[in-house]
Amino acid sequence: MRKTVALLGNPNTGKSSLFNALCGMSARVGNYPGITVEKKVGVLQGANEQIDIVDLPGTYSLAARSADEAVTIDVLCGLQPGESKPDAVVVIADATNLERNLYLLSQVVEVGLPTLLVLNMWDRAVSENHEIKVEELAGRLGIPVLVTTASQKKGVVEVRQAIESLLATPVLPSNLARSTFPQSFLEAAAELQSDLAKQNVQVPLLEVDRMLIDKDGHFQKKFAKQNVGDLERTLRATRDKLAEQGCKIPLFETKFRYAWVRTVLDGINTRPAANTVSSSDKVDRWLTHRWVGMFAFLFLMFSVFQAITILAAWPMDWIETTQGALQGFVEQVVAPGAMRSLINDGIIAGIGAVLIFLPQIIILFFFIAVLEDCGYMARAAFVVDKLMTSIGLSGKSFLPLMSSFACAVPGIMATRTIENTRDRMVTILIAPLMSCSARLPVYVLMVTAFVPADVRYLGGWVTLQGIVLFAMNSVGALVAIPVAFLLRKFVFAGQQGSFLLELHSYKWPSLTVLYQRVWERASAFVTRAGTLIFCTAILVWAAGYFPASHEKLDAAQTQWEALTASQQKILPPDGEEPSEANQAAIDDYQAKIDAQAEIINAEKAELINNSYLAMVGKTIEPVVKPLGWDWKIGVATLASFPAREVIIATLGTIYSLGSGEDESSEGLMEKMRSERWPDGRPVYSIATALSVMVFFALCAQCVSTLMIIQREMNSWKWAAFSFVYMTTLAYIGAWVTYAVTNWLGWAA
């Protein structure tokens, strides 16, 4: 069987960089069964064998208070169902912050596995004058110690070799902090272990320690479920007795471990004086400055959304052109009929309408990854914590909420780092209000189609479209404020959680890490576009195509194409004027072509009006009319229940089916602009566009999000609650938007 090596360390030690450098792009990302802690396994190509590397969540301690920590210790002890105990452990530590990083190591070595210590960020340690005598450190710890700069792949080959030789000749760590613990504790733990053994429950010493030290912790809860008498009372009595003997649970552990770390590092680690100002500090002074800091925060967020609109324009054009070319090609090789309609109006229009937004999504993911990796995200949490506290949340909610701007699913999963349950619940419930990348297509479509592009301010650097886009991206977050406040006050009332946050030094983002994050997220989006959205597009196409007979339309279409072809034949070569007789023949053809086009248009409008789609749409039209929508928008919204971005594909299909032939080469935006009410007024005005955008900003149209809420909060009730409250908000929001803008006269 393949050997397994666990990789763990404090957060922000460059663990992802090392993992990527060791395993390349072979990582498989999943979840541990039953819980939502992310499980990442990669394959290390050794000289003789393949080795599985399990990337464990970043953690400061094995005290197992959060779900992340519980998984970490369970995997290390081989208690995680379906996982075998790893054959070795690699602990990665920040070389510029050895003391605190070795705290975790002191706990890990007690698991009793062959252990390798990797001191990462070595380049920085050298440039900041940290002195570490690596060989002596290895000698004192009794385990191999290596240095790396994983972001530049320096020292990675040595790590791979060290892992292989550690697996070939396993050496167990011998210098344990536990041996320095007070005698009273060691005796109490041994006594508890033998007590449990008498009741036929064999518990390894490490788990006994954790059970005793972590009040109401992971192991206490776990063993309380087994039949071991009144475990809680026994533990309480033991802890009381220990306190009398001067061994205060749980605080003694940290004291003794840090004392052990000090002994280990004594004389072999000198760090720069605390008042040394590094370049990171100089940057930080401004980014967390009283006034500049707040301004920098707002400026950064605003720039990100401006950059998205500006940078994405070119690739979007390219995708649109390719889509038109593809459809033109299909028209040449497939005869008019259901098949051509399915390919062009269903498949290509559906997928193209979603893919066109890929550039923007990649750019957004890229910026989020940069901010995360360079260290600004933690500062952003620091800067906005007071603000978040005032609405009952914490700065720690910031990262999950900011990630939710990309997608609520990873955002909600990121709430695991919030230890306070009530803070976490509220964060989960408002996370879907953040404007995720699936809404971006809806906004971009509406903004590009209906907000004038030539309105620019400040020398052309700020566009009106950019401002509206920014406003739409902010609407959800603004609405989230009162929602969070009310939830915290009435539903999850109680004490605020803590805010212990490490502000790690700024660093240049690592390209591999950026590449991998963007790749993972963008490919997830494309997979969705390729499956869920594809299926919905086909269903919507079918509902819009049937049940009426298309014979007349297909006949007219064939006629139109034949006429166009004949006209092409008699056209003079480029640049030459046609003769008079020739011109008359061309005009004659043109008149016939126009007549056929008119029949096609009328027929298409007739067909879509009698389709299943229209039947559903017209039934719900009275409900959506107050929002300024016609039945087509209503149906598209209904069909986008599985995922918001589906609305684009649906609109693409509906308008493609219902549009005249002469428009077939034009994009969805053109078709929407030319859409009319029966009385001739345009369907889309700025008011309608804004109303659609506000609806999508606030609605809960995303099955994945609802499912992740169910899993994280462990109840369908909260998933249903999210759907109902958000849909209500969305409807009211859209109605108010339409009513106000209509009153302002923007509905014309």
Binding site: N275, T288, E502
Partner: protein, 86 residues
């Protein structure tokens, strides 16, 4: 309980430490999970801690301890009792 007692005794706390100043930690108040978390992050008696600066809205505050930067709210910094000599 002990919180109020100690305030009245006039013990100096980390929350009172001004930006730019440093002090020595005497002990952590309480034995709940916040106390253990603070200690896990290296706030142990005898350790020197520097106050770097406050966030734009006055809270939380950035500290330097054991060569790294940590952010704490006033409410949490209150739990850290400083040695009177510092």
């Amino acid at each position: 309980m002990s919180n109020g007692d100690r305030v009245s005794k006039g013990l100096s706390r980390l929350s009172d430490l001004e930006p730019g100043k440093a002090a020595i930690i005497q002990e952590i108040d309480g034995d709940d999970s916040l106390a253990s978390r603070l200690m896990e992050m290296g706030l142990i008696d005898g350790e020197e801690i520097h106050c770097i600066g406050r966030a734009p809205m006055g809270d939380p505050t950035e500290y330097s301890i054991r060569g790294y930067r940590l952010s704490l709210r006033q409410a949490e910094a209150k739990r850290v009792i400083l040695s009177p000599s510092s």
